[in-house]
């Protein structure tokens, strides 16, 4: 199996890049952390890699709005290369701040003539929160990252993760197109029972979406923070599992290039 190379994009304020690198390495990939300025200087650098990951953090301080300034840079300087990258059957993953950035850059759902169709707004409970939540993958979803995964238990840590569509029809359209891939769930895996099962008020309990191709995915929870069994909040009660729930997602990304 070919070992895919991962470009983990560093921006000023990105801060989950090291654990993202660790996650991809555990999954068998070769991962490099590259500053966005290197990519701006040489956008073609992107094509040396098979997977682009935009990790969590506070890119540019989340000033103005979370991920917004990074989104602007992706749009202003890298949009052509990003489109080529995707069209060459490669993968793009945005986690937390990375999700906010690729969503606001229109990589998941392009804007229409009235402007952006979706956003990630401030959590409805009004503040940043770090907590573990249950996730259920949406049956029949398009994302290769989630192949064979039904449920995951992962932490979230964000203040702006509330998935909002401009209009109801946009939400329905995303669902019908199989682009809603991950929803917040109750501990049993069923529909969530309000807060804190759905920790931020997201419409449709949406925790992650993909683009029309399925190969670009963004999610608010942090799969890279549940790779090791010791990261589980209750391992001292429930015992150490073989691996964390997030690892399969990264392994799927690696295996995508073996097919």
């Amino acid at each position: 199996m070919a070992t895919p190379s991962v470009l983990i994009l560093r921006a000023p304020g990105a801060n989950c890049d090291m654990e993202a690198q660790f996650a991809f390495e555990q999954a068998g990939a070769v991962a490099k952390r590259i500053h966005i300025n290197r990519l701006r200087e040489n956008p073609a650098l992107l094509h040396q890699y098979q997977i682009l990951m935009i990790p969590g953090g506070f890119s540019f301080g989340d000033d103005v709005a979370a991920g917004k300034i990074l989104a602007n840079q992706l749009t202003a300087f890298l949009s052509d290369e990003l489109r080529k990258f995707r069209d060459r059957e490669k993968l793009i993953l945005g986690v937390c701040n990375g999700f906010q950035a690729i969503l606001k850059a229109g990589l998941l759902l392009p804007s229409d003539e009235e402007g952006p169709m979706v956003t990630l707004a401030h959590n409805t409970q009004g503040k940043f929160e770090d907590r573990w939540i249950h996730l259920a993958t949406v049956p029949g979803n398009k994302s290769p990252f989630l192949k064979g995964i039904n449920q995951m238990y992962l932490p979230i840590a964000h203040g702006e993760g509330n998935f909002v569509c401009r209009k109801e029809w946009i939400l329905k359209g995303l669902e019908q197109a199989g682009q809603v891939v991950l929803r917040y769930a109750s501990p049993g895996g069923g529909a969530p029972n309000g807060f804190p099962d759905n920790p931020n008020g997201s419409q449709g309990d949406i925790a992650g979406v993909c683009d029309a191709s399925g190969r670009v995915m963004g999610l608010m929870p942090h799969p890279e923070r549940h790779i090791l069994p010791t990261q589980h909040p209750r391992w001292t009660r429930e015992g150490l599992k073989k691996e964390g729930d997030g690892l399969q997602l990264f392994r799927n990304a690696v295996e995508f290039f073996a097919e």
């Binding site: 090291m18 103005v64 707004a121 907590r131």
Partner: protein, 963 residues
């Protein structure tokens, strides 16, 4: 043109709700909604752009039109509804504005200046009492913000104007004593007469008067903050014990107690000495594994947090993060700690002393400040505590700590002659300059004084960028020394790095935030997010390229040279030339008198006893004990992925962990446990025992999760009142003596520390001094994190044991607090038994005998077992407490806060092995875990003293701070 972009939320107006709630809380009224009808936020944009360009920027960058609506106006528009606009005062850091400037440039929009604002709409005629409170306490903070009534005035946003160089000489050689004192006071030099006379004599010898920058440099270097002159000075200490007076002279209290104990321990450790660099660098360094050493530092940021809680805490954490970064050749921060002391958040607003911020607002501001800096830095905040006591009303305490790891070969550093002095990171402004005043209330500041003097707002992303380049430059070996710019700014950083060498600095080379700073202001400014490096000239091009590549500013501001002198110039004109020797060794030692009267324990008096079940609920619901989940969840405590034991634990992830454990190197099973101990209430009875129990608490907390007591390092943070008062200084001396004695007995070296003195509030009719407060932070090795345990009960049918001896020690306890009693015996530490208990506990934990473990602290046994039970949703029947704690009454059994105790849960099959490990040590079975979700505790007469549902116990514990 100057444009105003105004953005309003569609739907819920969360900011309006927030300010109305805040107003109602402070006034016990419902009038908030009358005065604020809606809110908006916005930007002032200055530049050669037309309306269409401003609107495009609004759509592309500034507003999120899925959830907001926005419009562009010319500044000064009137919208029909009356409004009050809150703007940062000129010169206060506005990170969002800086980011917008950069992002607009990315989009090709040429802006010259940006400012952010918040706006509130409401009636024009608010009664003045309400308006005053609304504007000054709710909508804005006077220290950094201004409220503009009605439309803004169309004036430009630029700051500062060119500085015309003028060298200032301070004639001092012919001044008399009174005039010297006056000069020190008026110049805010904080030098006493003795020190002023020493300076005078020095310059008489030089046959000249000093320049202002020379005098400021001396004042900075000799300040309490930088030199810790009280604790390192001479103290004549008299201890009065039962009429006997005993006087000891300490030549250097720190060296002879805390640091002395460490030196003695290192000798005792011999070949096994695991201290690497202690009390020498910006953080204490100890060993960790074969590749890395671990380091730790805890700082306070009390005065700034009292004036502006958000900015004070924000820059407090930002500052302590730079300590590990400036240790050795730079350590990578791996986690933060935070400990706060406040007055109760329900303090009656009408009783607030003048100029004091309400404790609820202080708490919210401080927590937000730590949250926003720590989270943005990508450093998990994993441990902390909050102590509530009315005496912190005017002087809240904010302790921030940072742990880091550093490659074993990067601990040594030394500036070399010829190295460039390089400033890296943020630019220099008037931030934090003594005496700078917030004078301008105008939107446009044309005066020379730009505010932001006393208080600062941090820019975490600026520091994150610095961190990223420093760690790369370190690994490339590009510099020979590094330190952070903290108190005293360049003066202190360059002065320290060049102390054994000499340095010359060209002050005009320092990058400035805005024009108009004098050479002295540049030198002593305490602007945030700056580091100073000593860079060999051959490495400069590579360092410069590295920094430029990540958008970090780096500038050569001078050279280290072998002159033994600190030479300062501005545009070629010499402005300072002082001997390093005089700066660092010229300060006359201070001599102070201290006295402490040891009082023997008196029987508890006052108050009324309370039935145990009621007392338990009340203690669980007291502010210091209750759940801090509201705080903890706002901190990202898991970033970096190293989290092993989290601050919240248990079946619902919401029980209170004793300590946190992190795995600094992902995939390696070696960890670090971190915890703290403090109990200022014990100090009211005896500060010796306060210190002893604080150390005991910090150590037992790390031991409780699996930390190795033989590899536990501790830190001290003293926050004290006015040390010119012999009694207050006496209590501090006694605390230091306890630190020495207990550190030696436990074998736990102090590796770093910090003091913050003179925490006292004085107004015309009121004086409030904080209780002497010692925070002890412990950091311990965890050899294999898979052996860690948590405090939540795990299974039914297990045995519960009490470890340690329970004595009738209710003095200073929470039981006394809630029943209103004073006096009594303060908890003491049996220093010969305690280390043996810690060792046995560690063997039992690493041997896998313990299913859960919780330390006993505030509220004693009853609170600990209740927390364990509701965190694990497992009941407990405690039937043998009387035999486990004989010779005392039921109240003491339940609530005494005797030190060195744990409750542990053990599978029945492991009981025998456990007893063997505790041979000769106090260990007694007290009960069993049960399926029923309840806690029952039997008294001496066999009746149930406590019979409570776990849900009701948990509710009492969660309710107070469920904000």
């Amino acid at each position: 043109m100057l444009w105003e972009v105004e953005i309003r939320p569609l739907g819920l107006d969360g900011e309006r709700e927030r300010v109305c709630d805040e107003f109602d809380l402070l006034t016990h009224s419902q009038r908030g909604a009358d005065w604020v009808s809606s809110s908006s936020r916005g930007f002032l944009l200055e530049g050669e752009i037309d309306r269409a360009a401003a609107e495009q920027l609004m759509k592309d960058l500034l507003a999120d039109l899925v959830v907001e609506e926005a419009s562009v106006f010319e500044v000064g528009h009137t919208s029909g509804t009356y409004s009050f606009t809150v703007l940062l005062k000129p010169g206060v850091m506005d990170p969002v504005a800086e980011s917008v400037l950069g992002a607009a440039a990315d989009l090709g929009v040429p802006l010259k200046a940006v400012r952010t604002f918040r706006r509130y709409f409401g009636p024009e005629n608010i009664p003045s009492a309400d308006q005053n409170l609304l504007f000054r306490k709710v909508l804005a903070n006077d220290a950094i913000e201004q409220v503009i009534l009605g439309p803004l005035k169309p004036e430009h946003l630029a700051l500062g104007k060119p500085y015309a160089f003028k060298k200032t000489i301070v004639p001092l050689r012919n001044l008399g004593d009174d005039e010297l004192v006056k000069l020190s006071k008026e110049g805010q030099l904080a030098l006493n007469l003795d020190e002023m006379k020493t300076v005078q004599a020095h310059f008489k010898e030089q046959d000249r008067d000093p320049t202002d920058v020379e005098l400021e440099t001396v004042a900075q270097t000799w300040s309490e903050h930088c030199s810790h002159k009280t604790l390192k000075g001479t103290i004549d200490y008299t201890e009065i014990n039962g009429g006997q007076r005993k006087t000891i002279r300490y030549g250097n209290l720190l060296k002879e107690t805390i640091f002395g104990a460490t030196q003695e321990l290192r000798k005792r450790f011999g070949a096994d000495d695991w201290c690497v660099s202690v009390f020498a660098d910006n953080a204490g360094v100890v060993t960790f594994d074969e590749n890395f050493h671990a380091c730790i530092k805890v700082e306070t940021h009390n005065h700034p947090s009292a004036i502006e809680p958000y900015g004070g805490a924000n820059t407090g954490l930002g500052g302590v993060i730079r300590d590990p970064l400036g240790t050795g050749l730079g350590a990578k921060p791996i986690c933060n700690t935070d400990v706060f002391c406040f007055a109760n958040p329900d303090f009656p607003p009408d009783d607030l002393p003048t100029g004091v911020i309400h404790p609820r607002r202080t708490m919210i501001g401080v927590v937000s400040g730590v949250r926003d800096y720590g989270n943005r830095m990508g450093i998990p905040t994993v441990n902390g505590a909050i102590v509530f006591d009315e005496r912190y009303l005017a002087n809240p305490l904010v302790f921030c700590g940072t742990l880091g790891i550093i490659p074993v070969d990067k601990v040594e550093k030394a500036s070399k002659p010829g190295d460039y002095i390089v400033a890296v990171g943020g630019r220099t402004g008037r931030d934090g300059i003594h005496g700078a005043t917030f004078s301008s209330l105008e939107l446009t500041d044309e005066s020379e004084t730009v505010s932001g003097g006393a208080v600062q707002i941090g820019n975490a992303i600026a520091e994150k960028k610095v961190l990223d380049v420093i760690l790369q430059a370190r690994d490339l070996g590009l510099y020979s020394a590094i330190t952070d710019c903290g108190a005293g700014g360049f003066s202190s950083a360059v002065g320290e790095m060049g102390a054994d060498l000499g340095a010359s600095v060209q002050l005009e080379k320092c990058p400035l935030k805005y024009a108009g700073l004098s050479y002295t202001e540049i030198w002593i400014s305490e602007s945030q997010e700056r580091m100073v490096l000593a860079v060999p000239p051959k490495n400069w091009p590579e360092l410069q390229a590295l920094c430029a590549g990540e958008g970090v500013e780096a500038a050569i501001i001078g050279t280290f040279e072998n002159t033994g002198r600190l030479k300062l110039s501005y545009q070629g004109e010499p402005v300072g030339d002082v001997a390093m020797h005089f700066l660092h060794d010229g300060r006359p030692t201070t001599a102070k008198v201290a006295e402490y009267e040891v009082k023997s324990a008196t029987p508890a008096t006052g108050g009324t006893a309370m039935p145990p079940a009621d007392a338990l609920l009340k203690i669980l619901g007291s502010y210091s004990v209750c759940s801090k989940e509201w705080v903890i969840r706002q901190y990202d405590h898991e970033v970096q992925g190293g989290s092993v034991i989290k601050p919240l634990t248990g079946v619902m992830n919401d029980g209170p962990s004793d300590a946190s454990v992190v795995m600094p190197v992902l995939g390696s099973m070696k960890g670090l446990a971190v915890a703290c101990g403090l109990n200022p209430r014990y100090g009211d009875l005896d500060t010796y025992h306060m210190a002893a129990t604080a150390i005991d608490e910090a150590v037992r907390n790390v031991v409780a999760v699996g930390g190795n007591p033989a590899r536990t390092a501790i830190l001290d943070n003293f926050c004290w009142g006015n040390v010119n008062d012999p009694a207050i200084l006496g209590s501090l001396v006694r605390t230091s003596e306890a630190c020495r004695d207990v550190a030696l007995a436990f074998g736990t070296p102090f590796v770093s520390g910090k003091d913050s003195l003179n925490n006292q509030y004085t107004s015309a009719n009121r004086k409030i001094s904080i209780p002497g407060t010692l925070l002890v932070t412990a950091m311990a090795h965890v050899d294999d994190v898979r052996q860690c345990v948590t405090m939540d009960l795990k299974e039914t049918g297990n045995e519960l044991y009490l470890v340690g001896t329970t004595k009738d020690e209710l003095g200073g306890s929470h039981y006394h607090l809630i029943t209103g009693q004073t006096g009594g015996q303060v908890p003491t530490v049996d220093v010969s038994t305690a280390p043996k208990i810690f060792k046995a506990m560690h063997s039992a934990i690493t041997g896998g005998l313990i299913r859960s473990c919780h330390d006993l602290s505030e509220g004693g046994f009853a609170v600990s077992i209740a927390e364990m039970a509701f965190a694990g949703k497992i009941g407990a029947d405690i039937t043998e407490l009387t035999t486990a704690a004989p010779g005392i009454d039921d109240t003491a059994r339940l609530f005494s806060e005797s030190a060195t105790r744990f409750v542990i849960e053990v599978k029945p099959a492991n009981g025998a092995a456990l007893k063997k490990m505790f041979d000769g040590l106090p260990l007694a079975k007290v009960g069993t875990t049960v399926k029923e979700p309840r806690l029952r505790i039997a008294g001496a007469d066999g009746e149930w003293l406590v019979w409570a549902k776990l849900d009701s116990l948990k509710e009492a514990w969660q309710k107070p701070l469920r904000w």
